[in-house]
Amino acid sequence: MPMSVLVAVLVALSLAGFYMGRSRALDAAGGRMANLHSVPGYYGFYAAIWAGLPALLVIVVWSAFGGAVVNALVWSSLPADAVQGLSPSQQSLLMTNILNVAGGNAGAAETSPVVRAAAEYHQHLRGIGRWALAALAFSLAVGGLWYARSRITPSLRARNQVERVVQALLIMCSLVAILTTVGIVMSLLFEAIRFFGRVSPVEFLFGLHWSPQTAIRADQVGSSGAFGAVPLFAGTILISLIAMLVAVPVGLLAAVYMAEYAPPRVRATVKPVLEILAGIPTVVYGFFAALTMAPLIRDAGQAVGLNVASESALAAGVVMGIMIIPFVSSLSDDVINAVPQSLRDGAYGLGATRSETIKQVVLPAALPGIVGAVLLAVSRAIGETMIVVMAAGLAANLTANPLAAVTTVTVQIATLLVGDQEFDSAKTLSAFGLGLVLFTVTLCLNVIALRVVQKYREKYD
């Protein structure tokens, strides 16, 4: 029986359980709702949960572990001489062969009788497993339904039990996000540890030369590779700095205008338009930076006699700054608006002008929130990849000159992992080392930003 049919049957049983539970509760109460502990619908959900949930759990468990169990059984059924003396990779190759044949993906003619027999056994086991699962799930559903029916009395606390199940569901949903994060961090951490087994962390964090090309053959030129990441950190900081120099003043002043000066009608138009900037895909910013901004800066530089690379940190930083403006302006606008009107009135009542009020009362009061907004924008800038890939180049120069080409941590990660790569060379593993550093930095920034914003909130609520 295919899985979809099974699930459909379970859904039907749950639905039946809902109506059965509701009408049974009403019957048991003699048709008077006041006699019931909970509203009739809860008895319906109670029965539906008993009908659906245990069977569903069995299906989930089978999907997760059933395949492994079948594979283990097939493996143990193989004749001893076929598996003896195989290396782990040869073992997994053999198993893949069996699975392919069983799935009908490989021509059975080319395979050995041992594999063919194992594949048939595999199909046989899977067939049994499917039917057993269907039978088990169905009987669990019916049994659950019957159990719920026998339990339903007017005094049953159906609402409390249903709410407990719903609460468990909510907890599981929030766990998904947390566990995913933990999983990502873990994989990053383990790969990074592998990398640091080959390259010392001291060289990685303090080395001044970045050249991750390692030789495939022993006789190649430039064989060893150099993994000093300082030029990458420097490039990241340089570009982020340029971006913040553009985004913070422009964004903050735009926020002050929107929050304090703009008539409501203008604000209602300007704010969404500014937020559209945040909706432009970064790759579009990227070719804007590479095709418009970079040549513009190069030509302007040449006009005044400066030597500007056609891929410059300045072009990437400026465009990234433009991209971040809506972050700064929108968040700052919110915190400025959250400053109580009574504070403004207090300043006006003393004869302060509008600009005095903004500079000396409103902005200081909103400062923690603005700092939070800026920190969030910084972590966005540090993590940005696409614009820099397209506009800042790949050369790992250690320079503070914004007119030179630089590269960033994110760009290197992208280039290290693009294309066919073996995952056990220092070159590819270095991407995880970089990723770990990047993650740590942005995590710290985000934590600080959230703490600052939180502290600010406590003050006025």
């Binding site: 403004r344 009135d345 207090g346 006006y348 009542g349 003393l350 004869g351 002008t353 005095e356 200081p364």
Partner: protein, 272 residues
Amino acid sequence: MVAQTQIQARADARPQGGVAPAVKMEARGVKVFYGAKQALKGIDLDVRDRQVTALIGPSGCGKSTFLRCLNRMNDTIDIARVEGLMTLDGQDIYDRSIDVVQLRARVGMVFQKPNPFPKSIYDNVSYGPKIHGLAAGKDEMDEVVEKSLQRAGLWNEVKDRLREPGTGLSGGQQQRLCIARAIAVSPEVILMDEPCSALDPIATAHIEELIDELRANYTIVIVTHNMQQAARVSQRTAFFHLGEMVEVGDTEEIFTNPHDERTQGYITGRYG
């Protein structure tokens, strides 16, 4: 420096003791609209110099709106529109030649809810004098701050912690800090919008005593819901009802012998 000499000149121009109370502020036919809604329907009222004038009336009667006309705080509300004549020392305060910033330095305001700035106690009081350039140098500023806090009856409680944030004070202390902040600019008129409504009875008694003392130097207009308070602190009382000023007179007369039936009904608690 210019502002300081101006304020000095204004102080000299005040009538000196022994003269019958002159009219400090004058309202003639003042109407206020919030959008299409009319909040005040033509108010005529004189505010006498160095007296406390209380504005009483049920909620929504327009007394706070009228108070906010006296230093043009309604300008900060986009949809508000003010008509009629309103003068300070005979000068139309809605005239084009009047700078609203200068006006508010002369007509200070204390609000319903204490609203100290999120700065230190010292900076709260020194803020007004600083923006108007009323103190040259730190010593002079220290003096202004101390004098203002003393006048507001707060000095003894805060003199050892002037650098701590003003928001850390209790509600009553915060309100006295706001009064000190208003006094520090040396205004001629102080407007108080229900200054005690957020305070407990003891803090309220403090503020009332303070108002009585301030009367020697300042003209005070106070909006209050508390009729005992109006009777205790004011010399003149105006009764507002539904955007009109029903009756104005000496406080004693309003409370003992009101002419209008509505005034009588309100002060005896029949409605409002």
